[in-house]
Each structure stands twice: as structure tokens, then as C-alpha cells.
Amino acid sequence: MRTVLIVEDEWAIADWLEVLLSENGYNVLSAGNGREALDILHRETPDLLLTDFMMPFLDGAGLVAAMKDNPATRDIPVVVMTSLLESVVRDRVAGYRAYLRKPFREADLMKVVGEILG
């Protein structure tokens, strides 16, 4: 079973993503911000990371930068989910695989996840 790590500070969105991905056969891990995500990444190696952009303690840009610095996590594909324009993400996040503009539809999410995880 493929594992997806959700990094999202808005609990309602995080809950919705957890349910949705679980129902579609994925194992789901969840973190409320980038700092919590790094803690999880010390002990787990997910197949995909879905991250929000603006979060407390450590935002999406900081999280991805930290992942890219670590050989153990640098190859985990990252999807950035945000209501901001992709140009904002592109300027601040290096090496993300896909971008989802919030609010997105279930089908859009599953399409992106499916394309990355096969």
C-alpha cells in the first residue's frame, strides 16, 4: 500500500484529505505543519508528500527545502496545495512535482496523486 503524508494546518482540509485518500486505498500520515512533517520524515518514508504552503512553525517552502537537503527525503515527490498563484510557489519552492490550486476538486487531487504514484 502506498503511503501519502499530508501536511496541512487547516484541520478540516486535513480531515477531508485523510478520508479521501484512505478510501482510495492509500495509507495516510498527517502533520499540522512543516515541523511536524519533518519529525514524521525522520521515521517514515512516504511515497508522496502533499503539503500546504502557508503554515505555522515551518511553511511549505521551508519543508521542501529541508527535504531536498536530506538524501533520505530529497526524492520524495511533493505536491503543493495552496490558494496562491503557482508563480508564487515557483519562486519559493524548488523541485516540487505538482501544484494544486485550492479549492480543488476530489477528481483533480486523485488525478495528480494517481499520475505520480502510478
Binding site: G32, P56, K102, P103
Partner: protein
């Protein structure tokens, strides 16, 4: 957002005036209101105004709408600036932290984010959730106290947004914060009017009572109550200056050479008596390069231009020196309309003003006891700004009672606002209807108060040179019998 000492502007039009100059740096303010009152828009608008000045703003949500939806809604408002996010304005959700780690966890989020982002404004949207999560009043008080400490030491001004609580109880945090602003909606008949009230502001005078606000494309705009704002005029009224021409041949002579520069003249009369014509002549009667303005509730600019052209008055020829403002009364807010008027006058340097239908202001509010003081404050401000004003007001069609030429004209309440009062009458004599004019009042001036007959011709009002024509009509009226007694007219009484 401009800084002035340890205070700074909220960036909300009108709010700083009510707050006596903005909020204090490092202070904590509660913004309270029912759902739909506009708290979230107000919070975002304050943040974006701050970010527009190059400062850092930070928006924390608890159980509020999702950031995606919020940003989607804010995008429709003019203050929203996509480029400010995330470097100068950022959003984080902290409900999960509050759920998992309680009030201390939330404090840690605030402390860390304020420090790392160097935020000088923080909005916490959903204080009611903190209230619900707190196990006791003491825990809530400790939370507010620690927040105050953080705000003071980091020089970050905090706005806590919360839904209205039980009005019978005073939440403990109200006694601790530096300011309390309430947003509410009042129903006036079927019409809803938004109102803002500052209940508390530590360390500063503030304008008490309720003030109207509106949420439009530009965000929230607050309109201070005019009679509170202009309790004394904004500038010193020199009350001097030369007499100015009225613009109607013969009128200046009746007034002993013209009217005072700093004066308000009210022209009363029933529909069709010539009030608008008198106003147009007054408007065009000043020096060609002197800024003049028409402000009316009824006729739109096109209708006025057509009327002026029919009368051969040089309205079009005056070009930009005359501006025409039309403000339909539908859903307008009294203080908003007055603010618009005064702002336009100041911006254009208007020296000659016509208010067509001054009684229209009274129709913008259900609070009739406000109208007298409102008009008094407005007219005092116009005088202080050096504006010569002519205002029209409609009376009923009672006509003229022989021997009582002023019957049917209710002037109660006008004395306080007007130096001069002119009455226009319609007199039905057999099958003909005649127009008559009389001066009811001219403050500090020797005035010819004898009635004049007049016609409306090309060029406007043509006033007869003396009273004989008017006397002929009055004699004729006397022989054909008196009209029924006039009904009381409550307009402009302010009662």
C-alpha cells in the same frame, strides 16, 4: 498606513477618526460582531493596508472559513493584493494546535510566528473558539494576559475577532484588552443598516455612539456621525468675506446688495414653484472660474443639463468649474452621503453650493431627532469652509391665504441652519396660476420683505421690479375667497 508616534492607522476609511487617531502599537483589540457583520473583511483589510506599507501582517484562523475560501472572497475586494502573500501577509490555521495543545499551544504558535515573521499586526479570527476551549475564566484571562505581554514586547498589534457573546454577560477578556469595537446590524423598517461602536479604547478619547459603515468593493468604510464629527467645524469660521451675488436679477437688491459668503439660504416652495430654477441660476451666478457644485437627491445630471439648456443658463459653458452630484435616496446612509458631499467640496475647492432638496437628508434616517443637529453641524461646516450655500426644500401646495402670505410654509427648524429663507408660492387666481416670492428671513441684514411676482422665462426667474404685481394677485385672491387652511408639514423640523 501612516505611523504617528505610537499610534498607527487601521487603514479603514473613517475608523481612525472614530478612534481618535488610530490604534496603539502593541495593543490588543477585540472586534466583535454577529456572523456576516464583516469582521473577517475588516481584519483582512487592516492586514493588507499594513502590508501595503511594507510591514508584516499575519492572520491566524481557528474555526473560521478555510483560507482558500477566504482568499477567494478577498480577491473580489479592491484592497486585496496577491503580491503581498506570503511575504508581507500570510495565513495560518491553528485550530488543530488549539485542539491538541490547548491555549498554551496556540500561544506558542503566535509567539513563534510573530517573532519569525517579524509581524507587526496579527489577526486572530475565532476568539470564541478559545473561549470555548478554555477550562475556566482564569485560564482565558491568563491567555489574554500572555498575549498582551507578547504584543507589548514584540510591538505587534493584535486584533481578536469574535462572534457576539451573550449581551447580558461581560466576558472576562473585555476588561483586559485595550479596545473593544462592536459591529452590528440594525433594522430600520425593512432596511438593514450596519453600525460600528467603540465601547472602549485605553489611553485615548474616542467618538462614542454608533456610526454607520458599509461593505462595498473597496472593503469596509465607516462614516462617523456628522453631528459628532463636526460638533465644532473642522476649520475656524472666519465669517467674513464679500457679499456674493445671488444670480437672480433683483434678488440682490431685495437682500441689500447680495448674500453673505459664509451663509446658507433656504428656498422653500411647493413642486413647480421654481426652486430648481432658482438653484440653477444661483449655481451659474458666481464668477466663471469659481468652483461650484450641485448636490441633489432627485434630478440626475442629464436632467439638470437639459433644464439648464432650456432656460438658456450657461451650465455647460462653465465646464469643469461646475460639478453635478446626484445621490438617489435608495439605500443611502445619511452620514455616508454627508461625508461624500463634504469630501467632494474639499477636493474641488467648492465655493458655491446648491443642495437640491435639503429635506432629503431627513428621509435617509429613521432617527428624526438627529435631523436638526445633523443639519446644524453640516451647515456650520459649510460656512466654515467658506461655501455659500443655497438649499431648496419642498413645502405642500397649500397656497397663499390672503392676509397671511406665509401660511402653508413651515419654517420650523430652519432658523438654526439658515441665515436667509426665501419662500416661493403658487397662487391660483381664477384659471391662472401665478408665482410669488417673499423673503422670510435675512439674518443681520436690512431686507425688502415685500412680496414679488415672478415668471420663469429664458434666463430663469424674472422678478418684477416691485411689489405691485404681487399685490394685485393678493387682492384678487381676497375677492375669490381663501383656500382651505394648510396642513402641518413636518419636513425639516427635526422633530
Amino acid at each position: 498606513m501612516s505611523n504617528e508616534g505610537d499610534r498607527f492607522s487601521t487603514g479603514i476609511p473613517g475608523l481612525d477618526t472614530i478612534l481618535g487617531g488610530g490604534v496603539f502599537e502593541g495593543g490588543i483589540y477585540i472586534i466583535q460582531g454577529a456572523p456576516g457583520a464583516g469582521k473577517t473583511i475588516l481584519g483582512n483589510q487592516i492586514c493588507f493596508a499594513h502590508a501595503a506599507q511594507g510591514h508584516q501582517a499575519f492572520y491566524v484562523t481557528l474555526l473560521a472559513e478555510s483560507h482558500a475560501r477566504m482568499i477567494g472572497h478577498m480577491r473580489r475586494l479592491e484592497f486585496f493584493d496577491e503580491a503581498a502573500i506570503p511575504d508581507r501577509m500570510s495565513y495560518v490555521g491553528a485550530f488543530k494546535t488549539l485542539e491538541d495543545d490547548g491555549l498554551r499551544g496556540l500561544l506558542e504558535v503566535v509567539r513563534r510566528e510573530v517573532r519569525t515573521r517579524k509581524a507587526s499586526i496579527l489577526v486572530l479570527d475565532g476568539l470564541i473558539t478559545v473561549h470555548e476551549k478554555a477550562r475556566s475564566d482564569l485560564e482565558l484571562k491568563k491567555f489574554i494576559h500572555e498575549l498582551q505581554t507578547q504584543a507589548a514586547f514584540s510591538n505587534c498589534t493584535m486584533f481578536l475577532l469574535t462572534s457576539s457573546l451573550d449581551p447580558q454577560t461581560s466576558p472576562p477578556e473585555h476588561t483586559m484588552v485595550d479596545g473593544l469595537i462592536e459591529l452590528q446590524t440594525s433594522l430600520h423598517g425593512r432596511r438593514a443598516e450596519r453600525e460600528l461602536q467603540v465601547h472602549k479604547l485605553r489611553g485615548s478619547w474616542f467618538m462614542g455612539g454608533r456610526h454607520s459603515y458599509r461593505i462595498a468593493a473597496g472593503g469596509v468604510s465607516v462614516f462617523p456621525r456628522i453631528e459628532a464629527l463636526l460638533e465644532t467645524p473642522s476649520v475656524w469660521d472666519g465669517a467674513d468675506g464679500p457679499m456674493v451675488p445671488f444670480g437672480i436679477a433683483g434678488m440682490d437688491k431685495m437682500f441689500g446688495g447680495g448674500i453673505d459668503t459664509h451663509s446658507v439660504t433656504v428656498v422653500l416652495g411647493p413642486s413647480g414653484s421654481g426652486k430648481t430654477t432658482a438653484g440653477l441660476q444661483f449655481l451659474c451666478g458666481g464668477p466663471a472660474d469659481q468652483p461650484a457644485m450641485w448636490f441633489g437627491f432627485h434630478e440626475n445630471p442629464m436632467a439638470l443639463q437639459i433644464k439648464a439648456a432650456a432656460l438658456k443658463l450657461p451650465l455647460d459653458a462653465r465646464g469643469d468649474s461646475i460639478s453635478l452630484l446626484w445621490r438617489p435616496q435608495t439605500e443611502a446612509i445619511l452620514d455616508e452621503v454627508a461625508t461624500e458631499l463634504l469630501t467632494a467640496i474639499k477636493a474641488r475647492g467648492v465655493r458655491r453650493l446648491v443642495i437640491d432638496g435639503i429635506d432629503g437628508f431627513a428621509k435617509l434616517t429613521d432617527e428624526k431627532n438627529r435631523v436638526g443637529s445633523f443639519l446644524s453641524a453640516l451647515c456650520n461646516e459649510l460656512r466654515a469652509l467658506g461655501v455659500t450655500t443655497l438649499a431648496t426644500a419642498e413645502t405642500d401646495h397649500a397656497g397663499i391665504t390672503p392676509g397671511q402670505p406665509l401660511a402653508g410654509v413651515n419654517q420650523t427648524g430652519l432658523s438654526a441652519v439658515a441665515e436667509n429663507i426665501i419662500a416661493l408660492h403658487l397662487a391660483a387666481l381664477r384659471s391662472e396660476t401665478y408665482r410669488l416670492m417673499s423673503v422670510l428671513k435675512a439674518r443681520n441684514r436690512r431686507t425688502d420683505m415685500r412680496m414679488r411676482r415672478f415668471d420663469i422665462v429664458e434666463g430663469g426667474i424674472a422678478l418684477e421690479i416691485d411689489q405691485r404685481g404681487a399685490e394685485d394677485i393678493l387682492r384678487g385672491l381676497s375677492s375669490q375667497g381663501a383656500p382651505p387652511p394648510p396642513s402641518p408639514d413636518p419636513k425639516l423640523t427635526g422633530e
